[in-house]
Amino acid sequence: MTILSKSLTLVGSILLFHACYSAHEHTALYHTPSSSALSGASRFTSSFRLPLGSQSSSSSQSAAASTSTSSSSSTDLPLDIILETLLSVLVICLGLVLGANELRPIAWRVWAGQLERTKGASAASGADKSEIAAGNPFRALEERVGFWDVRAQRKDFANWVRGGDPDVKVD
């Protein structure tokens, strides 16, 4: 599950990065200052209608028209970049949701029942300690001070001091 979610997130991130770069390049291509200056200049010349080379002015007029239409429509990206962005978002969302922590049931009876059923399994498989510690519904009862077996604990401590590992120093 985690490998699946991680790989999904990775693939989605690559797609998103690519879409972002493509969009940036696309806007950089169609919003270059030179093209806008060119279109402005050609509009200028076409408004003046120079007698010399009326052919060229008409051609520049058509070019200006084409650049102006492209600059007005350049705010909307090509369809493939849009689709890539949406797909990458979908894939990353799926990866995130699949990789999220597992939810725990909030009703006490459901939770405790689940724990009791999985208690032996988790102890045998050596699940991480926080899970086990959080997993005892009667911990508050078992840790009541009045119910401590002090003698047993003292005995355990003495054993640990005598035969414990040499790294631990007891003052």
């Binding site: 998103l16 969009a23 705010t75 909307d76 969302c93 995130l96 922590n101 725990r104 009703a107 006490w108």
Partner: protein, 109 residues
């Protein structure tokens, strides 16, 4: 009070509630930034951007409903399905706007 009686008969686990809320809010924050990136790339402005965010959060809610909650939202959230849908939506909006403006500026400026 019916609610108190109900709570006494069917007690809840506060740690589990906290854990579930934390999980959901983490998902919401991460996905909100992600939607901001997407909205910035798409160059959305004003209302379409916010509508995009709402649609995205609905999508995440649907995914949470399907996968971690296993189609039983009442089992994991006190308020049931509605809590799953509306929880932390406004918290994510802030990070959404942050990444939205950032990527809008990066891409189209």
């Amino acid at each position: 009070m019916i609610d108190e009686k109900d709570l006494a008969i069917h007690p809840l686990v506060p740690e589990s509630i906290q854990h579930n809320n934390l999980t959901l809010s983490q998902l919401r924050n991460l996905s909100a930034s992600l939607f901001g990136v997407a909205a910035g790339i798409l160059g959305l402005e004003s209302y379409p951007g916010f509508i995009f965010y709402l649609v995205g959060t609905l999508l995440v809610s649907a995914l949470v409903y399907l996968f971690p909650a296993k189609r039983e939202p009442k089992r994991y959230f006190q308020g049931g399905l509605w809590e799953l849908i509306e929880k932390d939506v406004l918290n994510g909006l802030m990070s959404f706007v942050l990444t939205w403006t950032l990527f809008f500026g990066l891409v189209s400026a």
